[in-house]
Point group: C2
Chain length 330, copies 2
């Protein structure tokens, strides 16, 4: 097998985040389920944007955030995702390439603008996401560059892709090529509602295609429709090589065959915005794994990534994660 | 005189900030003078953007930031500035209106896009600004709505307007109308290089038209071409009703006739990005002044505004300044 040119290739929705503060009354008034990700259409995004407070814009997208985190750790990454040739698309492209990440997906040529996600951050630092997929719906199997997939140690896929038929095909094509090339496939379950929408497919995926699974507690409970974390853990250990299960302030639990590691969360002075916590965790974990670290060390590096991004508004690191790891773990 | 509908009307450049971290070597390599604001053309903004790191976008503009800060304090504000009907313009408009600020300036109809300012934040938390004025160059005297000016207690003008001939006419028209209506005129000197470019005009303005002046130490030294802060202070006290002179971590000094107040800076745990410190200070000071507070109290409220915005990336408050004032000063 050829040496990998990239540590991780991410495939996901290419999204610009529009972040604002909101209170619980605002969520209630607009019927938004706190902590979830909901797909909305162009009219709804316009109405909600008009109603919400002043915002900041920054590049987002779950898998894209993970690749950005990986780059911040010093890893080499590539990304496949769809934007248009508009101002938001230019921001997204700039931000990911500025990190040294290979991003060559053809621009969308339809009329839909680059995707945006309205993120409402409540005083408890929880984030509620309303996503207009825009140009992302054009992502399909033709965008999966087989050479790129084969050139990455790990092919990292976000569960959100499963929400659109074309993107789902792209997802399966990428996973197939990765395995044919002897690479690992990693999946993030993304969101409990997303798991709910696609449970049967995700169960098959986890059993048959996924080597490294990322999920938070809610997502893995939803996947196996069980009541307790321990029950979910028993299921998942038989299904994939490694499962990294995150539990917010309780840290994470890693299972791999007979191994189980319980790792504390990294301390954070003040949690400002939990957007991207899981994405940054996956970045750290995968970076550790690629560097041959043991699973507990991978989980700690993941925890450092999560701790950095939840201390400020926005889903991507503001400071070098490599420096953060050196500061916290050495 | 009719009761004012607004506490403050701001007139300034309507700009979207594009913020990134950079090191001193980057500034050197691109010949950028740390701490300054430089006007650049469209080609240069493109080249610099391509070279710089990942960024976040948020609404900016000096006077606009001040009006945003005022709104965050519970004050009523209006703003005059020029954007285009593009995505950046929509962000700017949304962010200012979402704060309850009246903003009705006609959209620019030329081909230039909404202005953007590339802001490079160095590890010492200093910001270096490269501004492409875009649609702002269309701001002119026709945009100055006489009723709006007459309806505001204070007409607040940014020195940056002086860089473009049309905007300068708009500036003078607004100041004239304000005084005819018995209102106060306030000026922020904006930037030492800006003062350098327009020293003679600014000296005339300060002597003849400005009631409340905001300047930092460097700017006021540049204005009077003196070596010491005390010398500048002696000049300025004879020229305008109130001068609020900011000195970074040393706090601020307020002079008004025979009164002098020296007020400490508010403590900040970690200074992240000084962008907008002066704008937020002016917001607090003007809010205090409008509320009939004494000058020392005005300076302290200004200090709270500055302390909030320098603790995070971006020039506008992330949390309610009204709450911050209650927490810190009561």
């Amino acid at each position: 097998m050829a040496e990998a040119r990239f540590d991780v290739l991410g495939v996901g929705n290419a999204i610009v985040d529009v972040l604002t503060h909101a209170d619980d009354a605002f969520l209630d008034a607009h019927g938004l389920a706190k902590g979830s990700m909901t797909l909305i259409d162009e009219d709804t995004v316009g109405r909600l944007y008009d109603a919400m407070g002043p915002a900041i814009e920054c590049s987002g997208g779950s898998a894209a955030n993970t690749i950005a985190g990986l780059a911040s750790l010093g890893g080499s990454g590539a990304f496949i995702g769809k934007v248009r040739d508009d101002e938001m698309g230019a921001f997204f492209r700039h931000d990911i390439r500025a990190l040294g990440i290979t991003f060559e997906t053809l621009l969308a040529d339809d009329s839909a603008p680059t995707a945006r996600c309205l993120i409402l951050v409540t005083p408890d630092a929880q984030r509620t996401m309303q996503t207009y997929l825009g140009a992302c719906v054009e992502l399909g199997p033709d965008d999966i560059d087989a050479d790129l997939v084969a050139a990455a140690e790990v092919c990292y896929l976000e569960g959100y892709l499963w929400d659109r038929p074309l993107a789902k095909e792209a997802f399966l094509k990428a996973a197939r090529i990765a395995h044919q090339a002897g690479r690992r496939v990693s999946l993030s379950l993304s969101d409990p509602f997303c798991v709910d929408r696609h449970r049967a497919d995700f169960l098959n995926l986890v059993e048959d295609h996924v080597d490294v699974l990322f999920a938070n507690e809610e997502e893995v409970l939803s996947l196996y429709q069980v009541e307790t974390f321990d029950a979910a853990l028993q299921w998942v250990r038989g299904h994939c090589e490694v499962a990294a299960l995150t539990r917010g302030e309780k840290g994470s639990v890693i299972v791999s065959g007979d191994e189980v590691h319980v790792v504390d969360a990294e301390p954070v002075e003040r949690i400002v915005d939990t957007t991207g916590a899981g994405d940054a965790y996956a970045a750290g974990f995968l970076h550790g794994l690629g560097g041959g670290r043991d699973l507990a060390a991978c989980a700690r590096i993941g925890g450092v990534g999560a701790a950095e991004v939840i201390a400020h508004m926005g889903a991507r690191p503001e400071t070098s994660l490599r420096d953060e790891v050196a500061r916290r773990l050495s």
